[in-house]
Amino acid sequence: MAYLIPPELFELLEYFVLFLLVIYTTGSAYLAVSVKSVYHAVVWLIFCLLGVAMIFLLYAGSALLLVIQIIVYAGGITILMLFAISLSGKDAMFEKPGSGKLMDWRLSFAGAFLLFMITAYVLTQVSSVFWALQDLAAKDVENFDNVLIGNLAEQMFTTHGGTILTLGLLLLGAMLGSVYLVKKEVEDL
């Protein structure tokens, strides 16, 4: 069978796509916590969430998670945040410089980097033992299609039915609670 693209080049392209995705996701996450305007931070958060959605599709093999991630996170929560910023007036758009400084920006990132390195080291030590014990190997992309959405839905309402019911009650409580929080203030005015 003749390949349109040589397999070696294809593998190289796959690594390149993965590299781009990593840079895109972590870069936009960094910008989401570092840009001055909170509006821009939310826009960078949307980009980061889309990157995570791509990871769900390409490497976790789940189109459903991609759809949920885009609808709920990138399209729902972030819009809610934009509304909250708009309703909070001008003060919410930019952080006050210097007020209530918790830690120097560079120091906090140095600390986070150090924590990252320590955790990565511990994980590599632990994970090598873990993989050896479990004898796990990366699966082929073809296996991704084995789990259909029907199977997922069936398990959601049988095996995990109690969890989903609890989650529904929690969401109802959250909705009523947030409505109460905002409504009470309106009545007071």
Binding site: V52, Y59, L65, I68, S88, A92, F116, L167, L181
Partner: protein, 103 residues
């Protein structure tokens, strides 16, 4: 599949620590919420990727991600409700200015 789980554990770790650094650094309550969302997303990546390495847990892992996303939505709704309420009472969304519960 070209990439093994360690790459995605690395991405999740990076996202988590970026979120943690943002949470520690930020003064705005909305930006703190953004940092928490980043940390939750790192957990979601781990759920989805580790689910691949377990035949029994493949569907369970995806359901865990769905539950986590729903919880994040509830947390964001309540969090933003609190932020709006605090803004009405105090006229600011700076987390360091919320001192009503201080003894």
């Amino acid at each position: 599949m070209i990439a093994d789980a360690s790459i995605f554990v690395g991405i999740a770790l990076l996202l988590f620590f970026i979120g943690l650094a943002g949470f520690i650094k930020s003064k705005s309550a909305i930006r703190m919420l953004i940092a928490v969302e980043l940390m939750l997303n790192s957990a979601n990546i781990n759920f989805a990727i580790f689910a691949l390495y377990n035949d029994v847990g493949f569907v369970t892992g995806q359901i865990a991600v769905i539950i986590s996303i729903a919880l994040a939505a509830a947390e964001a709704a309540v969090g933003l409700g609190i932020i709006l309420s605090v803004y009405r009472n105090h006229g600011t969304v700076e987390a360091t200015d919320f001192q009503s519960l201080k003894g």
